[in-house]
């Protein structure tokens, strides 16, 4: 088998750099696997490990520092047949730690070769996440303050099913790299090496010292039994194939006549949990059943089941431009929280504005017509209040008619929810003028 190395672009590493050795070893691994160059993509990180893609006749993707695993994931999901090999240094592993953890948890079939030489070589020998505390480096005393990270232990506890820790001088490294690439899942190799340009200028490190240090650590030699599980991409495709096809959005035909001819604006003032936004949507759909155009602008806080929830609805025979409401036709006061948020509104209301006041909710004084509805007495619970208020509106033939609301409920809901909402609509009493 021919070499994958690009004769026109030989490695440019410092003399004695383990990276060069690994370059040739990776080439041997590719040759042994009987692959063609176009079946492989090398995704390289930043720093000296980021040069790897330029030495090989394969597809190549060289991106940002620490992010190589993210591009690799996109490539692999898009092209499952590709062998995706990521080269990253200890620096990239530090800055891209979140991606390493996620890749271990995800178990997409990528091979990560970490060329670990215990420092940032290219930028001047600063300390990395794997620098020993006693090393003399370009970061002064700072590396003495931090504890180095055991990449392999992290990878194992994060769920990587294939983890190998070794020195770049191992005799059978090519076979081991091949094993990692052939493994059907996320595989990590933490390959220790020497950085003669920076690290060993002031620190003693040789192959024997590395082997001795490795021997003291728990051995990790490939498959991690407790993490074996199906590969992500295959699982994704299997589960995606079971997802139901989603159709076009419902097209709502005009079939009814709205009770008023002009533009109508409704403000629902409620609180989170009252299904105000759903009620607003139903009011819009009811408008569509009368051939009207509609907008629904919502306002709520970041909290989920707490805080005000406000929906502003416009139903109009003409195109709607501005989606805010200056002078509503109807205000529905469902909850003190919503009313409080729009306190200043009530003073401005003209006397032809209808305010539906749910009893128990006090509203500021104003000129508007008040229609009081007691929902508690009718046994209507909080989550149904907004919907019940629409039924009142429909029965008063304001903005919508009962048949418009019924049609909207039939479009929006199904089964039990539809049945109970129709029943709700039926039994709501319209209350009285104040």
């Amino acid at each position: 088998m021919n070499s994958f190395l690009n004769a026109e672009r030989p490695p440019v590493f410092c003399p004695g750099c383990t990276h060069e050795r690994i370059t040739h070893t990776l080439d041997h691994a590719f040759q042994n696997m009987g692959l063609a160059g176009h079946q492989i993509v090398i995704v390289s990180d930043i720093g000296c490990s980021g040069l790897f893609d330029t030495f090989f006749h394969t597809h190549a993707f060289h991106g940002l520092h620490g992010r190589a695993l993210t591009y690799a994931a996109g490539l692999k999901m898009a092209r499952p047949e590709l062998k995706v090999v990521v080269t990253m240094g200890d620096g990239g592993q530090g800055i891209g730690g979140a991606h390493l953890l996620a890749a271990c948890r995800r178990n997409l079939d990528l091979t990560l070769l970490i060329l670990n030489n215990f420092n940032f070589g290219m930028t001047g020998g600063q300390f990395s996440a794997t620098t020993p505390p006693d090393a003399q480096l370009g970061s002064g005393f700072l590396n003495r303050l931090e504890r180095p990270l055991d990449i392999c232990e992290v990878a194992r506890s994060a769920g990587a099913p294939y983890v190998r820790r070794c020195s770049g001088f191992r005799k059978n490294l090519a076979e081991e790299i091949q094993g990692a690439i052939e493994y059907d899942g996320f595989s990590v190799m933490d390959i220790w090496g020497i950085c003669p340009g920076r690290y060993t200028k002031k620190n003693r490190l040789n192959t024997k010292m590395m082997e001795d240090a490795l021997a003291k650590l728990p051995a990790l030699e490939g498959i991690v039994a407790e993490n074996i599980r199906p590969e992500y991409g295959q699982q994704y495709r299997k589960m995606a194939a079971t997802q139901k096809k989603v159709g076009r959005p419902a097209v709502i035909k005009a079939q009814h006549q709205a009770p008023q001819t002009g533009r109508q604006e409704v403000i629902l003032l409620g609180s989170a949990g009252q299904r105000v936004i759903t009620a607003g949507e139903i009011l819009c759909i009811a408008g569509l059943t009368a051939g009207l155009r509609t907008t629904q602008k919502n306002e709520y806080n970041i909290t989920v089941l707490r805080g005000p929830s406000i929906s502003e609805l416009i139903l109009s025979p003409e195109e709607i431009d501005y989606t805010g409401i200056e002078m509503p036709s109807v205000v529905i006061a469902l909850d003190p929280e919503g009313v409080d948020r729009r306190r200043s509104l009530f003073k401005r209301l003209e006397k032809d504005v209808l305010v539906i006041q749910i009893s128990g909710v006090t509203i500021p004084a104003g000129k508007a017509r008040i229609h009081l509805v007691d929902l508690k007495d009718q046994g209507i619970k909080g989550t149904d209040r907004a919907l019940a208020s629409l039924a009142v509106l429909a029965k008063l033939k304001k903005v919508i008619r009962p048949e418009m609301l019924e049609a909207a409920l039939r479009i929006r809901f199904k089964g039990k929810v539809l049945k109970s909402s129709l029943e709700l609509m039926d039994r709501v009493k319209i209350g009285q003028w104040v």
Binding site: G37, Y71, A102, T323, E326
Partner: protein
Amino acid sequence: MAYSLLEGNEAIARGAIAAGCRFYAGYPITPATTIYHTMLNLLPSVDGICLQGEDEIASIGFCLGASMAGMKVMTATSGPGISLYSENISFALGSEIPIVIVDVQRLGPSTGSATRGADGDINFLRWGNSGGMPVIVLAPVDVNDCFTLTIQAFNLAEKFRCPVFIASNKEIGMTRESIDLDGLNLPDLIKRTPAPSKPPFRPFQADTAQTVPGFLPIGDSVLVRQTSSTHGPDGYITTDADEIARSQERLKAKLLSAVDQLTFHETFKRDDADTLLISYGVTARAAKAVFNERDRQGKPVSLLVLKTLWPVPEPLIRQVAQSVKRIVVVEMNMGQYVREIKRILPEKQIDFLGQMDGRLIRPAQITEVIDSE
């Protein structure tokens, strides 16, 4: 006529699918999250891929990988996520990777207010990349635009091999609106141009100083190189200053020489108007209300609604502004795009109305500025 009810975010997702997008990755963030939800609903059943990244950086990284494998890709976020995308945006610009990036803007600065709208990222989208290369930013006004401009965004990303932003806003993205899906005027779909089949393939070789290199995907039989480093046509690092100059010049020229093809707008001109309103995004709707009202009152103004913000459609703006004395720029921020208008039209009186407090600018506020003279 028969309408559907969609929120802007859902229309963007559906527009993306219609444009042929089959890869989406995102990270949850209000007010953009429902784009992700919709893509997750729609993509798997059409053999598409939808992923949730571990963060925004991963999400856009997935997209860039998939785009280089030949897929049409999209991601969506809000201002805080754009910050995290920034370095990868620069990558996509400099290395010509097609991607559609939706920014459903919320009130900033920083974490700001997740559930309040603003158009505060307009300059950030333009200038938030290292190197300062031009970008394409489209701004939808309503749910129809969310659908159709998204298709245009994909077309432009494919055609010009670059990131294309959709500058939406909470007030468009999370507002539901009636839409006549069958009545939309949809553009034909464009796919990135393949490189000529004659070897050798040089991944960044363009025909002219203003054009876009032909594309081949990573994974096919011809070897492809992609790199974030300064590169020559062959995709290898270069230190040749002349080669670098040519490449930078081309990245700029490929968009700036094509402004006419990139310009989307709606112009409402009144011959007897001496004031021109310029606006974009959700604020353009208030401006439209004012335009209509003034017409009814017999005190007409003209209105230019920009749907392409960057590159600045300078010829269009000059032409529409020609006959008016005064321009009022209205935007939902503290004054960003108005700088461009002042730059282009130094001889005109330019007044500004801006507001960034989560509330929509009301038509009455615009009228007040018009009448303030």
